[in-house]
């Protein structure tokens, strides 16, 4: 049952958020045009027969491009690849960069899932982290998307910034507006981002680790009460709305990534594109690649699999000769109640998802 995911990276933003250290930024119309052409060239060169189960336009802010540009890219993909009938096709949007016309054209291009960078429903928080939209715009955009026909709508939320007394209410409002999936991420202060520097200079005070965890737990409760099921560390979905594209990553499936800084994983080899946009414009052909060693594959299996509620398949682990019951660290963590095993999977107990990285580290040691 081979599946292929396609990721398209659009590195453009209206403004750079204060916490972001992804490959994205503000670029001229001209560069945006050249980028789309380079992207299409790159897509056309790739020939993979496997059926495409999901497409994901991420960024950056894909919705910054014109609907026409998105259409060209989409067209190139459809020409080159076989899309599965029920393929999940997502696009990331900023609440303030969508219009009814754009949303309609996305639908007509075949997009059936839309993801909004809502981050918060607290205008103060939005300002603090340098977002260009507010709560009203976010809810408006979601409703608009639903009205043009999007049935599967995700909202990204960013936690750990400031206390929020209306968590339960926020979740309810999002759900009422049409959200079917929520990705709730804990803020990571990445080195050298403006937010990092402001926090370092004590210009802003973010929540402490303990406060963040307490807040996270409140979110978990509110999400559960509203029917959002946690199927991965940071991802929550109403019944039948899990994100296929991301599940593919966590299950170590194959994927192709197009655009600057995108990665692909095909046949045990990981390819990566340049992170430099002008280099990419000059030559979108060039890719770095590394063949993963058995150990690396095992580590990724554990690292990614344990992010999901279901956990990592024991059968797959055994395929690598990894026996949980013979691993000292694993046994210790089982005795501490950090991880558990059922007949088919090894998984992190939901209470301990917060320290998943520490657990994973000890399992791959």
């Amino acid at each position: 049952m081979n599946k292929l995911g396609i990721y398209v990276h659009i590195p453009f933003c209206e403004s750079k958020c204060k916490y972001c250290n992804f490959i994205s930024g503000i670029f001229s119309q001209d560069i945006q045009k050249r980028y789309v052409s380079a992207l299409i060239e790159e897509i056309k060169r790739e020939k993979v027969e496997t059926k495409v189960a999901s497409i994901f336009f991420g960024g950056g802010t894909p919705s910054i491009l014109t609907a026409e540009a998105i259409g060209k890219i989409m067209h190139a993909i459809k020409e080159n690849f076989n899309l599965a009938k029920n393929a999940e096709i997502s696009i990331e949007c900023n609440p303030n960069s969508v219009t009814k016309e754009k949303l309609k054209s996305y639908i007509s291009l075949g997009f059936n899932r839309i993801s909004f960078g809502v981050q918060s429903l607290d205008d103060e928080v939005l300002m603090l982290i340098g977002r260009v939209h507010n709560k009203a715009q976010a809810l408006q955009a979601i409703k608009l998307a639903r009205s043009v026909g999007f049935k599967n709508i995700n909202a990204d939320l960013l936690l750990g910034i400031k206390e929020n007394k209306n968590i339960s209410n926020d979740i309810m409002e999002l759900k009422t507006a049409g959200v079917t999936h929520i990705s709730a991420y804990m803020l990571i202060l990445e080195q050298d981002t403006p937010l990092f520097n402001e926090a370092k200079q004590n210009k802003i005070k973010l929540l402490s680790d303990d406060e963040s965890v307490a807040q996270y737990e409140k979110y978990l409760k509110a999400l559960r009460q509203n029917g959002f099921y946690r199927y991965e560390i940071s991802n929550f979905a109403l019944k039948d709305y899990k994100c296929k594209h991301n599940l593919n990553y966590w299950e170590c499936g194959e994927y192709l990534g197009f655009g600057v800084s995108a990665h692909s994983y095909i046949n045990g080899v990981r390819y990566s594109n340049t992170e430099n946009i002008s280099e990419y414009l000059k030559n979108s052909k060039y890719k770095n690649y590394e063949k993963l060693t058995k150990q690396e594959k095992l580590e990724e299996l554990i690292m990614l699999g344990l992010r999901t509620k279901r956990g990592v398949s024991l059968k797959k682990l055994e395929g690598f000769g990894y026996k949980v019951l013979e691993n000292k660290n694993a046994l210790k963590m089982i005795s501490l109640g950090l991880i558990k095993m059922n007949n088919t999977h090894l998984y992190i107990t939901s209470k301990n998802f917060g320290i998943a990285n520490q657990i994973i580290l000890r399992l791959v040691e």
Binding site: N246, G257, S264, N357, L361
Partner: protein, 601 residues
């Protein structure tokens, strides 16, 4: 004129920073022993660490020639270590001389160490020549300092040359005084050889080399010699003098200062203070004053990387080649693995050795808190010397514990007397005496357990007196004391490297302070970690490090698994630097800071 009448053997004594090395350099320069070009500043301090700290640890003698009123004199300068840890070495260097230049800083006046070393010199019947240095400084008060020398030390200071070693002022007056006032040696060339070893060092080719002062007789290549303390005999392969580089000569005679090489394998066989005589028909009586040197401060030395144990062993053995006072025995700690319990002459000695291990041998070492050696009398009549708290027998087996005591001489301006009294009281000090030496200086005498003194007493003294007080101490034997072992438990397990022997009255306070500090430095673990201080089975203090709850709920963007991979690799690296202490994982830095816990926190 008799040969010995034209020899002067002298040393320089001074408090740290009063300018001993600088004066030595100027004397060498003035006598033309070395040209300015040949001299690197402060020539006599040979080791890097000495030069960086501006203190002299290892003695390097120098022979100089000086023409005075038409006669050529041989001046042998024997440098002395300037720190209280090395009192015995100083005393043997002094014993090799007839006179001593006493340098006193023109602005700072007489300090504790000045006095201590002066008494040592007087004990050795040396002629003492006071010299007042740094007169070029604006804060110089030479007349007052002269008075102080007369009042405090009881030495006439009228004729004391006022010099500036740094600026080269009045150096010839110092030389003149040496020739006029230091007595010449009065040994006999005809008697059997008697040579005092005042230092030794290990040479890879020649073996252990003794630095000697010849009192009687003569010695040359081929002479069969005997070490009177060890009884071992050797055949001399080379004798020589210090120019200051070592230069072989035909023979050394009564009154001379030089070196003897005799293919001796180990510096432990060239004991400082021992007398070298002839193997046959030698002297019957050794020169007085030999003492076997005992370490007073102990600590465990371990490696952050336990697999390099043999490197540590080799390094200590190499240092031992040149430092007979360093002692070490293998030790196994549950928390730290294999290492050594090392004994030192004092804290400075300990610091020097640990620094050399890191610097010269590139070892990442972990040292446990320094402590002393206790005499533990058991109910069955046995006596144990215990320097590692882990080895303290259980309380029921102990009749009494005696701890080493020190007598402290503290010199301070009067305004700090109150602060010092308070500090001494905190350190279980017992007041002995206090004396106003003049308007600006008080001498306080305290009796204090050595263990209290080595725990940052000196730092406390400096900070509470803004550096104005100076300290000198001597060991005055053992006294019974109410001591107990304080254990620290991490997650319910005793961490042996953190155990301490403390006075009963201080146990609670100390235990409280340690667990609080530990709470600050122990990073959160994946489970809750209780930190406890206990005496026997009784928990006297407890803190808890709550479990780690959030690490990173990281986003895994479009296929960017490499980003997560990088994070994982980074965390793997971080984990490698962790030390496993029982079930706890600690970064090395945190571990070090635990061991550097000090008393007043």
């Amino acid at each position: 004129m008799d040969r010995q009448e034209k020899i002067r053997n002298f040393c320089i004594i001074a408090h740290i920073d009063h300018g001993k090395s600088t004066l030595a350099d100027r004397l060498i320069e003035k006598t033309g022993t070395l040209s300015k070009r040949e001299m690197s500043d402060q020539l006599l301090d040979s080791m890097d660490i000495e030069r960086e700290r501006g203190i002299t640890i290892k003695l390097t003698p120098t022979r100089m020639f000086y023409n005075y009123e038409g006669e050529e004199y041989t001046l042998n300068l024997i440098d002395t270590p300037g720190h209280v840890d090395f009192t015995y070495e100083v005393s043997r260097s002094l014993a090799a001389c007839e006179g001593a230049i006493l340098i006193v800083d023109a602005s700072q006046g007489v300090e504790a160490q000045t006095l201590a070393n002066t008494y040592l010199a007087l004990d050795n019947n040396l002629e003492i020549l006071p010299v007042i240095n740094k007169i070029d400084l604006p804060s110089a008060r030479p007349e007052e300092v002269k008075e102080e020398i007369e009042e405090v030390i009881g030495l006439p200071a009228d004729e004391a040359p006022l010099i500036s070693a740094k600026e080269g002022i009045n150096i010839d007056k110092v030389l003149e005084q040496i020739i006029k006032n230091v007595p010449c040696p009065k040994g006999s060339e005809d008697k059997p050889l008697k040579a005092l070893i005042f230092d030794s060092y290990y040479d890879n080719f020649k073996g252990a080399i003794s630095f000697v002062r010849i009192f009687d007789g003569e010695v040359k290549t081929g002479t069969k010699i005997k070490m009177m303390e060890t009884g071992k005999t050797y055949e001399v392969t080379e004798v020589g003098v210090f120019t200051p580089a070592m230069k072989s000569v035909e023979k050394l005679e009564a009154g001379d200062v030089g070196y003897i090489a005799a293919s001796i394998k180990n510096v432990a066989d060239t004991k400082v203070g021992d007398t070298i005589t002839l193997a046959e028909n030698g002297a019957l009586e050794a020169l007085p004053g030999y003492k076997s040197v005992q370490p007073v401060v102990f600590c465990g030395i371990f490696l952050t990387d336990g697999s390099k144990f043999n490197d540590l062993k080799d390094a200590l053995e190499k240092l031992k080649l040149n430092d007979a006072s360093l002692v070490f025995t293998p030790e196994n700690s549950q928390a730290l693995g294999f290492g050594f319990r090392c004994g030192f002459l004092g804290l400075l000695h300990m610091e020097i050795i640990t620094e050399r291990l890191e610097r010269e041998f590139n070892l990442d070492i972990i040292t446990t808190a320094p402590g002393v050696s206790y005499n533990v009398y058991k109910t069955n009549g046995d006596m144990l010397e215990v320097s590692n708290p882990t080895n303290l027998p259980s309380p029921v087996e102990i009749d009494r514990i005696e701890e080493p005591m020190a007598k402290l001489h503290i010199y301070t301006p009067p305004e700090y007397v109150g602060a010092i009294m308070e500090l001494c009281k905190e350190k279980r000090g017992e007041f002995v005496d206090m004396q106003y030496l003049d308007k600006k200086r008080v001498r306080m005498v305290y009796k204090m357990p050595l263990n209290e003194m080595i725990y940052d007493f000196f730092d406390g003294l400096k900070s509470r007196t803004r550096g104005y007080a100076s300290l000198d101490y001597e060991l005055i034997g053992f006294e019974p004391s109410d001591l107990i072992r304080l254990d620290i438990l991490l997650n319910g397990e005793v961490c042996d490297a953190l155990s301490l022997i403390v006075h009963k009255d201080k146990a609670y306070q100390r235990g409280r302070a340690i667990v609080e500090k530990l709470k600050k430095v122990i990073p959160r673990q994946m489970f809750e970690v209780p930190i406890q201080a206990s005496i026997g089975n009784k928990i006297i203090a407890r803190e808890t490090v709550s479990a780690l709850r959030k690490d990173v709920l990281a986003k895994c963007y479009g296929g960017d698994i490499t980003r997560k991979r990088k994070l994982l690799e980074k965390q793997k690296e971080g984990k490698k630097r962790m030390r496993q202490i029982g079930s706890i994982e600690l970064p090395s830095e945190a571990f070090m800071s635990i061991l550097k816990l000090d008393d007043d926190e």
